[in-house]
């Protein structure tokens, strides 16, 4: 027992340490890329970028104010939306469809499009039977660009605090292109090669039919998996190539790929914290933010790993050898500890990929996953996660300033009514979306017996599944309890709307606050300034996050996972 536990725990500790190390290195690299400093990748990529800039008529030196930048972001997202709807509803007769998969229904196409557009990747379709390879490649494209959208928006915020006073905060197009050419593409290529080496398929062939050793017929789905999976994690997208996501042996062949997938999804969010530190020339603040986020992460991950290793008490009571823990819905080559770790890293960061079936996790593990998404800023998704954290930061500065009777200031900029209104609205929007949508769904479920087919597990778990779906949608996470039958107009459309409202208001609001603050007059630091780069402020920040984000959900959590916990104990 001792040695089993040791190697399982060693695996996740090494994974985390590597993640932080690579994140720090990447943070410095990303700073150089976005600020235009020379890097090792210049010789290779500058010619490509120059070509792209010339074709697209992007002037690298040109800068815009926040409104122009957001117009650009929205219009390019609109273009992707239109292409995606056309493509997904016409897959049947388009090329790269060797398995003769039919086109998506409009409501399914709507849900899928929105969900990949907003970096969420909630999947109500079954990939093996409901999407062609062309569709998969298109979704892969959306995974690249939605991640780059988040990163570019995040850099706009960083830029706003770099200068003493400016109204033009940068160029969304340039940051967007560079995110892809300098960060996402090279890292994806590197990962895909390692994944192929470990046995991940990469082809466009039709399903294989074989006769097994015991003479059963077996049909095996394959496809361009190795191109899809790296960006799925690097971009914190999380949409699975297969239904079982990264529990599928083709999508996650062994423990090494499992480690790499866990590392890949966290490095850019962690790196961006340090990029922020370089941009604002205050690395101590970056470390404080990192500590606050890590604190939240550890408080969620340690219990989850422990609970999954402990396993299900009801199964232990049957008297079998339960040392491997809660193996229902998990894979032997990955183990319960790595699955416990994954369940939290994927929900605090808005990846939403899974390497085990989330519905079969222990009740309080599910609660911690929900909490990760409800806060949605402990590391957070690429770009978008930091933007959420930035909102909490503004709130904490305001509250702390009020408490000590000082003018709320952040980086030498006065925070006034207009910024606070945006921040307060955004912080309230998240619980509003989740709780109202869940309540509405429960109402419909209770009053129309036809909808009883939505959920499979009886009792509080069914409630948790619905709460989870909307939390995942609002947090743009994309993980789900697979037991929920979500491929029907109600869920496709309602989660689609929640997804939209979970993404664009927070990006636009975050950039708007930065834009508004950026053009204010710089106030030099004095004895009356509330210093944000202190660990005391870090504690206040953490408290604000817990009080505002976590407590508003407590009643809902006690109806779902907490009630289920008491059912089995």
């Amino acid at each position: 027992m001792g040695s089993i536990l040791f190697s399982h725990l060693a695996g996740i500790v090494v994974t985390y340490l590597l993640t932080v190390f690579i994140g720090i290195v990447l943070g410095r690299y990303m700073y150089k890329v976005y600020s235009g400093d020379p890097t090792w990748s210049d010789t290779l990529f500058v010619p490509i970028e120059k070509l792209i800039f010339r074709v697209c008529r992007i002037h690298a030196k040109e800068e815009f104010d926040w409104k122009d930048n957001m117009k650009m972001m929205l219009s390019i997202n609109l273009i992707w939306f239109i292409i995606s709807m056309l493509l997904l509803t016409n897959m049947k007769w388009l090329p790269l469809n060797p398995n003769h998969i039919s086109s998506m229904s409009p409501d399914l196409a709507f849900n899928t499009t929105i969900s990949f557009l907003v970096n969420c990747d909630l999947q109500t379709y079954i990939p093996e039977t409901q999407i062609s390879y062309l569709g998969q490649i298109w979704l892969m494209f959306l995974q690249f660009v939605s991640a780059a959208t988040g990163m570019a928006a995040c850099i706009l915020i960083f830029r706003a605090f770099r200068e003493k006073s400016l109204s033009r905060i940068g160029n969304f197009e340039v940051y967007f292109v560079k995110s892809i050419t300098r960060i996402l593409l090279p890292l994806s290529l590197l990962l895909s090669i390692i994944f192929i080496w470990r046995g991940m398929p990469m082809n466009f062939a039709a399903n294989q039919h074989i006769i097994t050793l015991e003479h059963h017929k077996q049909t095996i789905a394959e496809g361009p998996v190795a191109a899809f999976v790296p960006i799925k994690h690097l971009g914190t997208n999380g949409g699975g190539f297969f239904n079982a996501n990264s529990a599928h042996p083709f999508e996650n062949p062994d423990y090494l790929t499992n480690m790499l997938e866990m590392i890949a999804q966290a490095v850019i969010p962690i790196g961006l914290i340090f990029t922020f530190g370089y941009f604002i020339r205050n690395r101590k603040l970056a470390w404080i933010i990192f500590c606050v986020m890590t604190m939240g992460f550890l408080l969620l991950v340690i219990p989850n790993v422990w609970m999954e290793i402990q396993g299900n008490p009801a199964i232990r009571a049957l008297g079998i050898d339960n040392r491997l823990g809660n193996m229902e819905g998990k894979e032997v080559r990955l183990g319960t500890a790595a699955s416990g770790y994954w369940s939290v890293i994927t929900t605090v960061i808005s990846t939403g990929s899974t390497n085990a079936m989330l519905g079969s996790y222990m009740p309080l593990s599910a609660m911690n996953m929900l909490l990760g998404m409800m806060v949605n800023a402990f590391y957070g998704g690429v770009g978008a996660g930091f933007i959420n954290f930035f909102i909490y930061l503004i709130l904490a500065v305001f509250i702390a300033g009020m408490m000590v009777g000082r003018t709320p200031e952040f980086m030498g900029k006065k925070i006034e009514a207009r910024e606070m209104k945006i921040a307060a609205l955004l912080v309230l929007l998240h619980p509003f979306l989740i709780l109202i949508a869940t309540a509405w769904a429960i109402y419909v479920y209770l009053h129309h017996p036809v909808y009883h087919a939505w959920i499979m597990n009886p009792g509080p778990h069914g409630f948790t599944a619905m709460l989870y779906e909307y939390t995942s949608a609002a947090a743009n996470n994309g993980s789900a309890f697979a037991e929920l039958s979500a491929n029907n107009p109600w869920w496709n459309i309602s989660t689609g709307i929640v997804l939209l409202l979970g993404r664009y208001p927070s990006i636009i609001g975050g950039v708007a606050i930065a834009g508004l603050l950026g053009r204010k007059q710089y106030v030099p630091q004095s004895a009356g300034t509330l210093r944000v780069d202190t660990y005391t402020f870090g504690v206040v920040l953490f408290a604000v996050i817990v009080i505002i984000a976590a407590l508003s959900f407590f009643p809902a959590l006690s109806l779902g996972p907490i009630a289920e916990y008491f059912l089995i104990h």
Binding site: S7, G11, F141, F144, G199, I320, D321, V332, N457
Partner: protein, 191 residues
């Protein structure tokens, strides 16, 4: 706004060229240099027929073979997924109980306390190709009897097929069921 949309269209075209054509092509071409050539690692028999993929589990039910984990989709690899049963669902406990009973009848003389949990619970993908070393060891007696082999021989074969943790340090040890069963067939035919 029209200017923005026009520009968006050009940028999108550029990025599609880069990500959907350039990147995918490079990855597809580099796959040729690895085992399986991007088709997954296949095992072929003497007649060059594919008998399986190393990574995709197969159903095994006879006494002569080591069994893999229960699968919610019956190892149908044209789909994937788990049972999605909640830990509080009475159906889950009932299923596990039935599997324990079934295992006991097919493996007489094995104490219930030795049955490892991975042998009586379904996997996440439904295609899990592996079992824990403990799950292999408790089947040694049955397989050895069915094949009329000495238990020590089968036991040492299992030992040889245990995949140690990554770098002997990280993660679980496990046994690939298909590879073990193929080795078993080879052993039986050579005797």
């Amino acid at each position: 706004m029209r200017y923005h949309l026009f520009k968006s269209l050009i940028i999108t075209t550029c990025m599609i060229t880069l990500c959907c054509f350039g990147y995918v092509l490079i990855v597809r071409l580099s796959a040729v240099f690895f085992p399986g050539g991007g088709l997954g690692v296949m095992i072929r028999d003497a007649q060059q027929q594919i008998v399986g993929y190393v990574q995709i589990g197969q159903p095994f039910t006879s006494d002569r073979y080591f069994w893999g984990r229960p699968s919610a989709i019956d190892y149908d690899a044209s789909q994937s997924g788990g049972s999605n049963l909640a830990p509080s669902n009475p159906l889950l406990i009932q299923q596990v109980q039935e599997r324990i009973k079934y295992f006991e009848t097919r493996n007489p003389g094995i104490a219930v306390s030795r049955i490892p949990v991975d042998l009586v619970t379904t996997s996440g993908s439904g295609l899990d190709p592996d079992i824990s070393p403990e799950a292999a060891f408790i089947q040694v007696k049955r397989v050895a009897q069915a094949r009329q082999l000495p238990e020590q021989v089968v036991d040492s074969l299992v030992r040889a097929y245990i995949q140690p943790p990554l770098l002997h340090l990280l993660g679980p040890a496990y046994v690939n069921v298909l590879q073990l069963n193929l080795a078993l067939d080879k052993l039986s035919s050579s005797l």
